[in-house]
């Protein structure tokens, strides 16, 4: 951001005309100076907002908003979930619905996955998030974690799991992406870029940008403007009514799509494996089952973009050896096939 301010000053200096020759020239220069001072003040305010965004962690309210939107986009793009709302139910009524009234296979499977997942999540470093586990109809083996604690697992991945310990490993890995705030690191970088974009836009035409670049900045700045007005110290409260949905779309869609086709960084994936191993060991599952699952997962697709299975297995073993709490064995049952 300091660089941007330097750019601004350069623009101001280069914008100076020749020395004033008469009183009119002096008045004109004074008017320009006043305009420039007020513009500088405005830009300083924007810079402070962008600096705060770059510096501060993402707040819970914001995490939940982008996580919810991310999960919705993933479910839409991956072909839907195994559950369906009761006939005639309105969207507004669903949050308060009595889930016990659902007795179909999709609801039973979702209840089971939530039982395994919530038991692990309650023992994680963020035990009080509204953890929600959902099953995608998709047959490709995979699982996804949206910020805020919404975890999706495909039917294809469930088919790969031979027992509950293996499923626990999959869910614990995704829980670890949420507790490690891995998606939020990328999100915050994007938010900072978008904020910088709106800042550059505010500099105006003097920056010498092409018309296409200016048009892009125009739309970014427009979407971001409302957010900056609602942000305080870099924290954006998306929970307020009348949220700027354009900004939400701008911030969520691109990143959500990237996460569908790519793994996180090698470090983030290994960190998630290590944390998953600790979680399942402490819950009483056999970590060996997770290692078995890692070894047999197909090598293509997004899973193929994770670190190799032998490296992941080794990392899991090292993480357990370093842990002060001793893992227990057993807890492999019941078989998923019985569900």
């Amino acid at each position: 951001m300091t660089r941007l301010l330097l750019v601004l000053l350069a623009v101001a200096v280069s914008g100076c005309k020749t020395m004033p020759k008469n009183l009119d020239d002096w008045f004109a220069l004074a008017r320009e100076g006043k305009d420039l001072a007020s513009r500088l003040q405005e830009l300083e305010k924007r810079k402070a907002s962008c600096d705060a965004i770059e510096k501060n962690e993402v707040a819970w309210d914001e995490e939940r908003a982008i996580g919810g939107a991310t999960a919705i986009r993933w479910v839409q793009q991956l072909g839907g979930l195994v559950v369906t709302p009761p006939p005639g139910a309105r969207t507004d009524d669903l949050p308060s619905m009595n889930a016990a009234s659902l007795t179909d296979e999709g609801a039973k499977l979702t209840t089971y996955v939530n039982t395994v997942g919530k038991n692990l999540a309650a023992q994680s470093s963020r035990p009080s998030l509204p953890w929600t586990f959902a099953v995608l109809k998709n047959e490709q083996p995979n699982a996804y974690a949206a910020p805020g604690g919404v975890v999706l697992v495909t039917k294809g991945m469930l088919a790969q799991c031979e027992n509950e310990a293996q499923l626990a490993g999959v869910l614990a890995h995704e829980i670890a992406h949420v507790t490690g705030r891995h998606a939020l690191h990328d999100y915050r970088a994007k938010k900072t870029r978008e904020c910088a974009g709106s800042f550059i836009k505010a500099l105006g035409d003097e920056t010498g940008l092409s018309s296409m670049a200016r048009a892009r900045l125009e739309s970014t700045a427009k979407a971001f403007e409302g957010l900056l007005q609602k942000s305080s110290n870099g924290f954006i409260d998306f929970g307020q009514k009348g949220v700027n949905v354009d900004a939400l779309v701008t911030l969520v869609d691109e990143q959500a799509d990237a996460l569908l086709t790519n793994a996180y960084s090698r470090e983030a994936e290994l960190e998630a494996d290590a944390e998953a191993a600790r979680l399942i060991a402490n819950a009483g599952y056999d970590v060996g089952e997770y290692k078995k699952l890692l070894a047999k997962l197909p090598k293509g697709g997004v899973i193929g973009k994770h670190p190799p299975a032998d490296e992941r297995t080794k990392f899991v073993e090292d993480a357990l050896a370093k842990s002060k709490t001793l893992p227990t064995s057993g807890g492999v049952k019941p078989s998923l096939q019985q569900r």
Partner: protein, 165 residues
């Protein structure tokens, strides 16, 4: 001349003698006066509380002896963590970190989907996906701590959450 090494040695010994501090990581962790499923409750601790750890009970190693502000007791090993639970930042408080207990009592963590998600689903016309997620959220909320405890017992796991006898 021998004083600095002596002091250093003393400090090292003291550090070695100090019992490690662990954190409670699960909700409503029961610290009992005696180990086992029927022990009398000494105190109920919430995530983030610290205890001095003295090691597993010899007869029942799933239960570990700890010292709390209310005295000595026993807690399930799985309720302990070497690292504290994360604090949550809330925009409403200008990004001030709040501990797990305050976060829970504020009600901030009750719902996974809020007005922002509703607005997004309308903007993108993703109604079906959103409805399905809301059903899954309702199912998730129906899985209570008692249910988790019953499942853990059934599966031969540590009954860590909601394991009140």
């Amino acid at each position: 001349m021998s004083r600095p090494p002596l002091l250093a040695g003393l400090l090292v010994s003291l550090v070695a003698l100090a019992e490690p501090t662990f954190f409670i990581r699960t909700r409503n962790a029961r610290v009992q006066k005696a180990p086992g499923p029927t022990g009398e409750v000494l105190v109920i601790l919430q995530p983030g509380a610290t205890v001095e750890w003295h090691g597993p009970d010899s007869a029942n190693p799933r239960w570990h002896k700890v010292t709390t502000a209310k005295g000595d007791g026993f807690v399930l090993r799985a309720a302990l963590s070497e690292t504290p639970p994360q604090k949550e930042l809330t925009a409403r408080d200008g990004g001030a970190p709040v501990d797990v207990e305050a976060f829970v009592s504020s009600g901030a963590g009750v719902r996974a989907f809020t007005e922002a998600a509703t607005s997004y689903s309308k903007e993108k016309v993703y109604f079906s996906a959103y409805d399905q997620l809301l059903v899954s959220e309702a199912i998730a909320r129906s899985v209570t701590d008692e249910r988790l405890a019953a499942h853990a017992k059934d599966a031969g796991l540590e009954v860590v959450v909601g394991g009140a006898p």
